[in-house]
């Protein structure tokens, strides 16, 4: 039985075109910084890839700073902008964010608070995960002159909420506040551009079909984030480290393919998404859709439910045993699913936050995959809910159960 992969938000299969260009480039000799012919040849391929990747994002090639991935890009954007502002003005130590950011952002913020004196200001999100624009505006005003950086994810990795990035960027620009956007989940799934008002923007290669190990921070030409990695001064002196040429060309190839028929592909995936959501709602009335009900504001690749009475890892177990690969949706620690911080931030309790399951679709997802989930999930839910009930009503008599 072939397995059904519905965890594309974690990582998506490498696209054959990206793999092919990776292998070809990896066989070329030379360091892109070297001055000899071989080095210049490698550098040319990198420059070409940079142009092509920038084109998929409506960005200038020099705005692309290659990193090892999305996590590094988020760290560099947030810490880099914060530290640069803080160095220039001691009193600029406020960071604006929400409670549903990815750990790459959330933990960078925590680190800045713990080690660099950052004052974190969290703007509320509603039950579907949307940022409160009025509250954002109010926070900008309340901390005027003191905000080092504001940050918001374009689309949420767990519940698929698409934020009003253009409006938020406008608000930030009006206040002259640097704005970092985590676009890791949005890139390749939505038609996004490195729009005016965004200072830095993180993207990742392996979420769109490049190999793991490459990402980029888009950095506006007039911005100068303080480097996190120091060394040879590559990438505008913002990110040192030998240029990962083979990964870079693969990233560009994947990006071109992922964005080539985006409108069509998004519509196809949104159709499958809506089928799955409707079927779950029909067959499992105890399931509660998390994230936006309006598909226009939800990633076309995201289906996320909390399943009353069932533990997320019981559901994952049952689905995995049945050949379906899904996720509890939240970050793991040593393989242990934690209650989802995103669900908690949307105002729900720990029970809801522990009972989640995310199905994330991607370019390889087919109608047959969705049909299989629809056929399997109700049975898996029944068993998981039964297992979940045991936490409250114990059927096994133990030695001290009357205590």
């Amino acid at each position: 039985m072939s397995r059904i992969y519905l965890d594309h938000a974690a990582t998506t299969p490498v696209r054959p075109a990206a793999l092919e260009t990776f292998v070809t480039q990896a066989q070329r000799i030379g360091n892109a910084s070297a001055l000899h012919s071989a080095g210049r040849s490698v550098k040319l391929h990198v420059a070409d890839a940079r142009d092509r990747l920038a084109a998929t994002l409506g960005a200038h090639p020099s705005e692309i700073i290659f990193t090892s991935g999305g996590t590094e890009a988020d760290n560099l954007g947030i810490k880099g902008l914060y530290l640069a502002h803080r160095a220039a003005e001691e009193t600029k130590n406020v960071v604006l964010a929400t409670g549903i950011e990815h750990p790459a952002v959330a933990d960078s913020l925590e680190w800045l608070a713990a080690h660099e004196g950052a004052q974190l200001v969290f703007v509320d999100v509603d039950a579907e995960g949307f940022v409160d624009l009025e509250a954002w505006r109010a926070a900008l005003e309340a901390h005027r002159g003191r905000i080092a950086v504001a940050t918001l994810m374009w689309a949420n990795n767990e519940i698929g909420t698409i934020q009003p990035i253009a409006q938020v960027a406008e608000l930030c620009a009006a206040e002259n506040v640097d704005f970092h956007v985590d676009a890791v989940q949005a890139f390749g799934a939505l038609p996004i551009t490195f729009a005016p008002g965004i200072t830095t923007m993180a993207i990742s290669g392996h979420k769109i079909g490049a190999p793991v190990g490459i990402g980029a921070l888009l950095v506006r030409r007039d911005a100068k984030p303080t480097p996190v990695l120091h060394g040879g001064g590559q990438e505008r002196d913002i990110r040192s480290g030998t240029t990962a040429d083979a990964l870079i060309v693969a990233f560009a190839a994947a990006a071109e393919e992922a964005t080539a028929n985006l409108a069509e592909e998004s519509a196809r995936l949104a159709g499958l998404r809506d089928q799955l959501i409707a079927a779950i709602q029909q067959h499992i009335p105890q399931a509660k859709l998390q994230g936006p009900a309006d598909g226009n504001y939800r990633l076309p690749t995201n289906v996320h439910f909390s399943f009353a009475q069932a533990e997320g890892d019981s559901l994952l177990f049952g689905l995995d045993m049945a050949g379906i690969e899904s996720s509890t949706g939240s970050a793991c620690n040593a393989g242990v699913s934690r209650p989802s911080q995103v669900i908690l931030a949307t105002g729900q309790d720990e029970a809801a936050a522990r009972s989640t399951q995310r199905f994330s679709l991607g370019y390889t997802t087919t109608q047959a995959d969705i049909d299989a989930v629809i056929a399997t999930l109700p049975g898996v839910y029944q068993a998981a809910a039964k297992a979940g009930m045991t936490a409250e009503t114990s059927s096994i008599r133990t030695a001290n159960s009357h205590r």
Binding site: A334, G335, K386, A387, T398, N400
Partner: protein
Amino acid sequence: MVMKKLKVLAAMSGGVDSAVAAARAVDAGHDVVGVHLALSRMPGTLRTGSRGCCTIEDASDAWRACEKLGIPYYTWDFSERFQEEVVEDFIDEYAAGRTPNPCMRCNERIKFAALLERALALGFDAVVTGHYAKVIENDRGELELHRAADDAKDQSYVLGVLTAEQLKHSMFPLGDTPSKDMVRAEAAERGLSVAQKPDSHDICFIPDGDTRGWLEEKIDMTEGAIVDTDGEQVGTHPGAQAFTIGQRRGLAIGKPAEDGKPRFVLEIRPKENTVVVGSRDMLAVDRITGIRPSWAGSPLAEEATGDWFDCRVQVRAHAEPVPGRARVTTADVDGASDVVWQIELNETIQGVAPGQTAVLYQATRVLGQVTIHKSINAQRLTHV
């Protein structure tokens, strides 16, 4: 006998025993799935020697073993249940001046209850663990729990709390193995990377092994008096709750005993915040009243008649069992009449603390267990 193919869940600690137990279950033709229990709320730690609780390395070792055996692997989070049922109980028991056994409690409430129930609900027939003990079916078709073949490794004591229903769904494939060395050799032969991993000791949720220090952070302790059996103060202690009966270390006694011999904790009175000390021979007891009894399988006929039955009594994981007799009766327990087991030993034993478990055996068979409520020395009572 044709063995039925079962769907079994192998509880994988990341150690050599559970890995080999799972391997044997696979060999026996069962459909095996490995599950590592995350019991700590902070699993992101590394192991130090034989200590540590569900560390990253333990989870990784468990997973690698499953990959080697070609069985699926999952980590299930029981940290909340473990915290409630084991860790908090451990703190409460010490705070009440008793000495709990958290491993036993974990077997009773987590491995063979919370985990087992979840496993049964998810379609499994049994839980398999690397415990050294045997489950045997007797002539009447009833299940009995017995000591392992390897006396040195026998873990039937910590399983003494299992009930008939729990035994029905338990598999201990290592019970017949003559020695732990053979388990390690088998692990090496099977290519399991944990073959030489050190055994776990101590309490898993107290990583540095400093139980007193750990308890001091959890229990509000105040300085109090250490008194002798005549009630005369002989010293002060930093808080009565973290002491255990029979303890000698950590007693700050200014005044030497008249006989010049070391003194031991005889009694903890948490309400008065007092620790009573005395000479070693004062620790000796031969009468025990046990509360909250359970039978490991079917009860003896004497349960109904209230007659005495011969048994051997073990009060700690590695204590020598002592011959004696016991009977089921009722007695006053903290102001209410309750079922108790009265135990009379043929010889005295030392270091019997309230809260500890007494497991009763007949030959290799585990009869059941009680929580020690009171213990006395019949000889001394007569002479006082």
